[in-house]
């Protein structure tokens, strides 16, 4: 135990660097995924935003198709996905972010669609009845009401990504994957077990950091009337 503390203090600057990398890797990926999912869900969900020529059935089926594709992406084994992207995007940060973004789309998209659909139709009709146009209705009524559900999707995505992100080390990606894999590759050697523990605990620390951030964000972005 004493030696682990010593290990931590000796490598503290490096560990902080890993934590920062891991945090940012997840942040970028989840941000891209959220932007993509929100845009997709808004277009697919809002009747008047989607081209009016799209028949209702087409709108529904396109929504289901994108959900299906997103869920398919989530089921690709992470090892395989990083490997598959390598020939196209090479090594390092870019393919790591792309892969993690693909993983994050499903939880965010799923919750965004569900959140938008959960808004009371009577409320939406009242919005129409007072003369709100489709864009105003979406931005002022539907999105704020769906927000708690959407953000819980983003939160799920973050938790998934924090653990998947360690695989990024395979393609020289950033984060706690590096000490973890180094340690696993040399198990038995000096400090190898410390590295494995550090990779694991590091993920937990990053997750804890995100949880705190989410509590704060949720508090400040949920409209008071629907906060419990």
């Amino acid at each position: 135990m004493g030696s682990y503390v010593q290990y931590l203090s000796e490598n503290s600057s490096e560990l902080i660097f890993y934590a920062e990398q891991h945090f940012l890797l997840v942040l970028y990926s989840v941000t891209f995924a959220s932007v993509i999912s929100l845009a997709l869900a808004l277009v697919l969900h809002t009747n008047q935003l989607a081209p009016p020529s799209w028949r209702r059935s087409l709108r529904v089926s396109s929504r289901e198709t994108s959900l299906l594709l997103a869920s398919a992406a989530l089921t690709i084994p992470s090892l395989a996905l990083f490997g598959l992207l390598q020939p196209v995007l090479g090594l390092g940060v870019t393919p790591s972010i792309v892969a993690l973004t693909l993983y994050a789309i499903y939880p965010v998209l799923r919750n965004t669609v569900a959140g938008l659909a959960s808004v009371d139709p009577a409320v939406l009709e009242a919005a129409r009845g007072v003369g709100m146009g489709p864009v105003r209705r979406m931005l002022r009524v539907q999105l704020p009401l769906a927000w708690p559900v959407i953000i819980s999707g983003i939160r799920t995505a973050v938790l998934i990504l924090i653990s998947i992100a360690v695989v990024a080390a395979l393609i020289n990606g950033p984060g706690f994957g590096k000490p973890l894999q180094d340690g696993l590759a040399r198990l038995g050697a000096v400090n190898s077990f410390n590295e494995v523990i550090t990779g694991t605990l590091g993920c937990l620390v990053v997750a804890a950091g995100y949880e705190i951030i989410f509590v704060v964000v949720l508090r400040f972005t949920t409209p008071r009337g629907i906060r419990d």
Partner: protein
């Protein structure tokens, strides 16, 4: 009793003016439905009048109302608002000019009561101070203390309170046309009565054109200048003044719908101030009183409650105006002067 019927037909309700809302041959068949929800409807709502839509559940009242502000597009026919065909105008602009109170209330859960009421004025770009004073005015109107309710959220209100806020929201921008879908449905009888009186008072000052859906025949008779009785399938069975509907139902359906007790109901259409009353004599001292702003219905109520064969009708200052006898009531009641 025949006198009462006669006096009812030519008293109380205002003469119709030019139509503010006109439905011409309007039908609505919902997608994948075989039968139309509303069929070949012709209806003219006179400017400044309250028209009540009444009928059994599912007969197309809400559908009719929603076609007027184009929340639902009619399958056939056209709709004129103030003489203008609204089938092709911008629907959002149109709806900001028409107050709408939706049957399911539909307050915005994430907005405070004040912000809920202020939606349309805000969209119309009113300045802050004007909006605030308008919100307070409306909360007073629907009997809710602004200081207590302004900053609450819909979920912190009872169903009836939410419904009243819904009415305030519809009235907010002072539209000249109002569509109200069972606006007082969830409100207790006493508050409802007060709101109805308030509503009629406001209507006397600023005559809006109002389409009002209700299930309550008493409410229809009390508020309506005209009543449109709908039968299943959106058929307009009768469209006439309340007294005509009560006295001469157009067909068996209407007769059955208004049910028994129409003679008693018609009493509430007859205002005491329009009656020929008996001279007051000293022996009337101690008899129960009723204000002359009330109706014969109220007078009967007072007589029954006080076990008195006679009531004294008093004016706003409490001065006796005359007396009304039970015997007169059931034999030969007469009205005086021209209808209001």
């Amino acid at each position: 009793m025949t006198d009462i019927v006669q006096s009812l037909t030519d008293s109380t309700h205002r003469a119709p003016q030019r139509p503010m809302i006109a439905l011409e041959g309007v039908s609505k068949t919902y997608p994948k439905q075989r039968r139309p929800a509303v069929a070949e409807l012709n209806l003219a709502v006179p400017e400044g009048a309250i028209v009540i839509l009444i009928g059994p559940s599912g007969c197309g009242k809400t559908t009719t109302l929603k076609m007027m502000n184009r929340l639902i597009e009619p399958t056939t026919g056209r709709i004129l608002l103030d003489g203008e065909d609204v089938t092709d105008v911008n629907a959002d602009q149109l709806r900001r000019r028409i107050g709408y109170v939706i049957q399911q209330v539909g307050l915005f859960p994430h907005l405070s009561i004040a912000d809920n009421i202020a939606v349309v004025p805000t969209m119309l770009g009113w300045d802050k101070r004007r909006i605030t004073s308008r919100v307070d005015e409306l909360l007073h109107l629907v009997g809710m203390e602004p200081a207590e309710f302004r900053d609450r959220y819909p979920r912190q209100l009872s169903g009836g309170q939410q419904q009243r806020v819904g009415v305030a929201r519809g009235l907010a921008a002072d539209p000249s046309v109002m569509l109200m879908d069972e606006p007082f449905g969830a409100i207790d009888p006493i508050t409802r009565e007060r709101l109805q009186d308030e509503f009629l008072e406001v209507q006397r000052q600023v005559a809006k054109t109002i389409c009002f859906v209700t299930h309550d025949l008493s409410e229809a008779v009390k508020l309506g200048d005209r009543i449109a009785v709908f039968a299943a399938g959106g058929r307009l069975a009768q469209y006439d003044t309340p007294s005509e509907v009560l006295a001469h139902p157009a067909d068996d359906f209407v007769a059955e719908f208004i049910g028994s007790g129409t003679a008693v109901r018609r009493l509430s259409l007859l205002e005491l101030r329009h009656l020929e009353l008996e001279e007051i004599v000293t022996s009337h001292g101690g008899a129960p009183t009723v204000p002359h702003s009330g109706t014969v219905y109220d007078a009967v109520d007072v007589m029954l409650a006080a076990h008195s064969p006679l009531v004294v009708v008093v004016d706003d200052d409490g001065q006796p105006r005359g007396a009304l006898r039970w015997d007169t009531l059931v034999s030969d009641l007469r009205t005086k002067g021209p209808p209001r």
